[in-house]
Symmetry: C2
Subunit: 651 residues, 2 copies
């Protein structure tokens, strides 16, 4: 605690900036590799353990169930049971709806809520995530596979491709996790996801017009223009029975959502509403025989649990390429949603999620799923939120849901025979409307205009182009933004905050004062090839401007240029050359280059490239204040020498 | 000058970090746009001028010749005349050689050294650049166009496509300049260019094996494997006459280069050597009739200056696409070389080059060239270096060269009839060997390993793949490096430098001491979507680690976490959310989050997103020292309260 007192005596002359000690190349390389791929240090926990204990720890690491199952209690189970049944009542109608959206047999939606949740319960590290299929990925499968193979004309091949795509998605997800490349998902920014999700939700809702209007034929495109064209060219095909039934149930679903939102205690109202709607609608159709009056129904659903599908995987060209492409794109999107959902709920409950481990879990669950007649699953936001609200405690709620779905598959599938498609459309629409987060978009506009552009780009790309176009637009804008930040770093003039030794930006702190004869520039970003020539010109122009101002004011000429490198985190050889050029340029103009607060990487590279010798180690200071102090001392000395009669030296 | 004295009294309590004043969105937008696209403020010089004077200034801006021509003197002309004749003697054989390399009629090389230099002399702002064709772009034209159209089977169409590609290259270059997108060229880093040039030089040398060995048939691929295969499968076709003649002249050329290098005064020896070789070799062939003994010669060259070629431009599909692609890629590469060369020599002579203006000049010169039977030209390094060494003063040396070439075209073309191809190959090889800058590669290895990888990637990509592959590999590695820097910013623990108020990285400054109860972290990069979740986890882990260390040492628990944001140049909404999450997380752990030295952009966004309220303005300090001072004060107060007997509050 004495340091603060010591810190007040700042009179001991300038500190030296040391050269970092030479480290073997392999050491640096290993350290960088570790920080890039193992920033979370996953093996840290095993470090101090030995022998069999280490094996147990490693198993627990890969199968978190081994960690929590032994401590599992009846109290926890009671919570998980309630949560599991609640999400099952949501999972059954949603599963059927989304399978229809993917142009797959409806029963696949139920299969996909049985096996994958069991795999996730063993391997996943989230306590709140509920596994299932998602609307966006389902639609994407339909649109990407549909381009190559028609689901209506060749359902067998289409199904095979769906399983193969799921398999590749799983392999890709697991590989990302195993190769520690989880950070790729981070490149989907929050703004991208807001725009993308809203766009996808819009597109999914538009697709539901088919079911709501009772249309038989519909466009395979997903963009707004095609869908509107398809809808309004066949107004004579609209079925009022469908429209009325759909609107009623949509109203009911939205009402329950509104009630649950107003009072979170009633979460179960909106969670149970879809199943209630399905039961009511099925009864209604069964009693009125509406299926004969233009209301389409699900029809026959095969009884029994998942049949194996390993032999259905299709690895022969040309189909393997389309399955691979679909798998990778849908896999990444599903992963991004799942990881984001897992992270959000972990934050609420204050526990850690290991992104790479989650990816392995998602990957395994999809690989196993693809072998057992499931299609792409992840952790959907809606279902996980219901799970969280229902008070789940561990991944056991997924097991409960899986068992409930299994019972449905074994005994209750005939009950869904009369379920009208229009109620499934209503369920999808009501779920999708929740994904259009216009408040987040408004927030983006207020806080960061570029992020808003990213968001809007993603939205418009999805709605007017396709899901892939929207994604590409958003990722491109995001990356361009990063590159532009690197290409155009801010250089700001620093001034002294009165009565302190602190130097800050004069544009941010109007009280900051400039020092006569000394020009202080702060560089705000790493110096890289992408900005080296910009910075070279920008610094020259900064000095020109300053000299112009001084000239008009009739002040002292510039003698020293101090570069504050405190914010320059990294430098490459182009950056080093830039500093070398700058030094030469300033020498030619009779100005002295002074560096303040360079990091160890910069010092090392300046030294190795011999630029340090050119600048002179004595012109490198720990702080701007010390650099200014030294420069001022020299200016004083020179002035005194001048006034002592050596005017001959002046030109 | 009094500031330095004032700066020593640092006792007035903490400074506030002000919120930046609200600025209208359009103002910020305009300022950002200006800094991105007009960082060099090109219209600055006209600001204070009026009426006709403004028009003259604008004309002078676009046609620099109007600026320097009126001041032109006989003294300058004498220098330019010598330089111009010297570069002409290099331009004639090089022009013919490179046109052969591009599979174009040799006379095009002469045409291309006549019109484009005249255009550049009017519009270019470099005083040292000598305009001409370059080997790499020539080879690229041959390989890209050769994929679609065979130069041997359909020379007419091939020629048309070459003109069209040149036209598109010119349009693209001019557009980049007009749209102020010059910074795109900066994304070709120094390391990329070193590796790419060396690779291209290797490939070009390999192609010369055809001429050197006197082969009639040769592969159209450029990669090492194909060329070696092509050479060694036809050993029986090798012509010893060719080999002997080529080796002699290559030795002569390399010897003159070596002599010139040892003594820069003898630059003219190496500059005149190519033309001397051509004259000697032609004489030799003429006298010995070697053309009948397996030595291939240039043959008939059409007399007369450039015929118009506007009608030869081919804009019909599918050829337009290949011409467009070739034009854009070769245009960028030519531009990068020309701009780099111009900038380098401008730096030696201490004048400024306006990159965007140069692009417009290059673009115009290629557009005009494509209409007058020229193919792609730029500012080649070799020719410009000779120009510089020959003492050129203005772009007039280009005019002299153009006139010399014109005279050659009008009267001297028959003299080249007996010039053997093998001597052209020798000229190309000797020029190319100078481009393999192995010293630069070694320097890269010493200073920056990643830059070395970029360089090696470009080299291997070009040599074993193709010129395009090498370029894509290098640009990808470069951009990945930038993205990786953003994705994995350094977070470093700060400590107090004894006897000062300065806080620096403890890994760089081993003397820096930590403060009990306070953890200070420095973030080294902008906080963006790409690193927000990494930083969230990294900061948590940093705090965990610190608490572990403190526990084992039995020291005071952590109470304050200070984030030094001085190096955080920018933040987006994901970054803001990260800070919000961090605040919540720390609150839960009973730690206080303190921010030090946030920039104005960060303050603005924290305020707009209401995160500032959550953190509390009173926990934001100007410097780390002031933050530590306040925290220490609180810790003291609390300790005193504790020792005064209020132990009940402690748990």
């Amino acid at each position: 605690m004495g340091n603060a007192d010591l810190a007040l005596t700042d009179m001991e002359g300038p500190h030296r900036v040391p050269l970092p000690p030479e480290r073997p190349f392999l050491d640096t390389f290993r350290a960088n590799l570790k920080e890039t791929f193992f920033p979370d240090d996953p093996f840290r926990q095993f470090k101090n353990e030995r022998g069999s204990r280490k094996v147990v720890s490693a198993l627990q690491y890969f199968l978190p169930i081994l960690e929590w199952a032994p401590k599992y209690s009846f109290g926890l189970f009671k919570s998980d049971l309630i949560a599991g049944i609640t999400i099952a009542s949501l999972a059954i109608p949603q599963g059927i709806s989304y399978a229809k959206l993917a142009n797959l047999p409806p029963v696949l939606g139920l299969y996909s809520s049985f096996v994958p949740p069991l795999v996730y319960a063993m391997m996943g590290s989230s306590k709140d995530l509920a596994v299932g299929t998602v609307a966006v990925a389902s639609l994407l499968i339909a649109s990407m596979l549909g381009k190559e193979v028609s689901a209506a004309e060749n359902p067998g091949l289409y199904l095979k491709l769906a399983f193969t795509a799921t398999f590749f998605a799983g392999v890709f997800e697991a590989a990302l996790g195993l190769l520690r490349l989880g950070f790729i998902v981070d490149f989907l920014s929050h703004a991208t996801i807001v725009g993308f999700m809203a766009g996808a939700a819009t597109v999914v809702c538009l697709q539901q017009l088919k079911g709501m209007l009772g249309l038989q034929h519909f466009t395979t495109s997903t963009d707004l223009v095609s869908v509107m064209e398809s809808v309004f060219t066949q107004t004579h095909q609209w079925r009022w029975e469908s429209v009325v039934l759909g609107s009623c149930f949509l109203f009911f679903l939205l009402l329950t959502r509104y009630l649950s939102k107003r009072n979170p205690k009633f979460f179960w109202i909106s969670a149970a509403a879809p199943l209630t709607s399905v039961v009511l609608a099925s009864l209604l159709v069964y009693l009125t025989h509406a299926e004969n009056h233009g209301v389409q129904v699900i029809g026959y659903l095969k009884k029994g649990i998942n049949p194996p599908s390993a032999t259905s995987l299709e690895f022969s060209p040309p189909y393997i390429m389309i399955a691979l492409k679909t798998g990778i794109i849908t896999g990444v999107i599903a992963l991004a949603e799942g990881i984001a959902v897992g992270r959000s709920f972990a934050m609420y409950k204050n526990y850690q999620i290991d992104g790479n481990k989650e990816m392995i879990a998602f990957g395994m669950m999809n690989i196993v799923g693809s072998l057992t007649s499931c299609y792409l699953t992840t952790g959907p936001f809606s279902r996980s939120a219901v799970n969280y609200n229902a008070g789940c405690k561990t991944a056991m709620s997924n097991v409960v849901m899986a068992i409930a779905v299994m019972i449905t598959l074994l005994f209750l599938t005939p009950l869904f025979h009369y379920t009208p498609l229009v109620v499934l459309s209503a369920i999808i629409i009501s779920a999708m409307l929740g994904l259009i987060d216009y408040e987040a978009a408004i927030h983006l506009w207020h806080v960061d205009k570029i992020d808003f552009c990213v968001c809007l780009g993603a939205y418009l790309g999805v709605v007017f182009g396709s899901v892939e176009i929207g994604l590409v637009v958003a990722v491109t804008i995001s990356i361009l933004r990063v590159l532009l930040f690197i290409a155009r770093p801010r250089t700001t003039v620093l001034g002294n905050i009165p009565n302190s030794m602190v130097y800050r930006r004069v544009d941010q702190y109007p009280i900051a004062q400039s020092i006569p004869g000394i020009f202080i520039l702060h560089i705000d970003a790493p110096i890289y090839f992408a900005n080296a020539s910009y910075l070279r010109e920008r610094i020259s122009r900064g000095i020109d401007d300053e000299e112009d101002v001084l000239k008009t004011k009739g002040r002292t000429n510039l003698q020293y240029v101090i570069l504050d490198l405190g914010a320059v985190g990294s430098i490459d050889t182009s950056g080093i050359s830039m500093l070398e050029d700058l030094k030469k340029n300033l020498d030619r103009r009779g100005l002295q280059l002074v560096l303040a607060n360079p990091g160890s990487e910069i010092m090392k590279k300046l030294d190795k490239s011999k630029v340090l010798e050119g600048i002179g180690h004595e012109w490198i200071f720990l702080t701007v204040a010390e650099a200014v102090g030294s420069c001022n001392f020299m200016l004083h000395t020179q002035k005194q020498a001048d006034s002592n009669g050596t005017h001959d030296n002046m030109v």
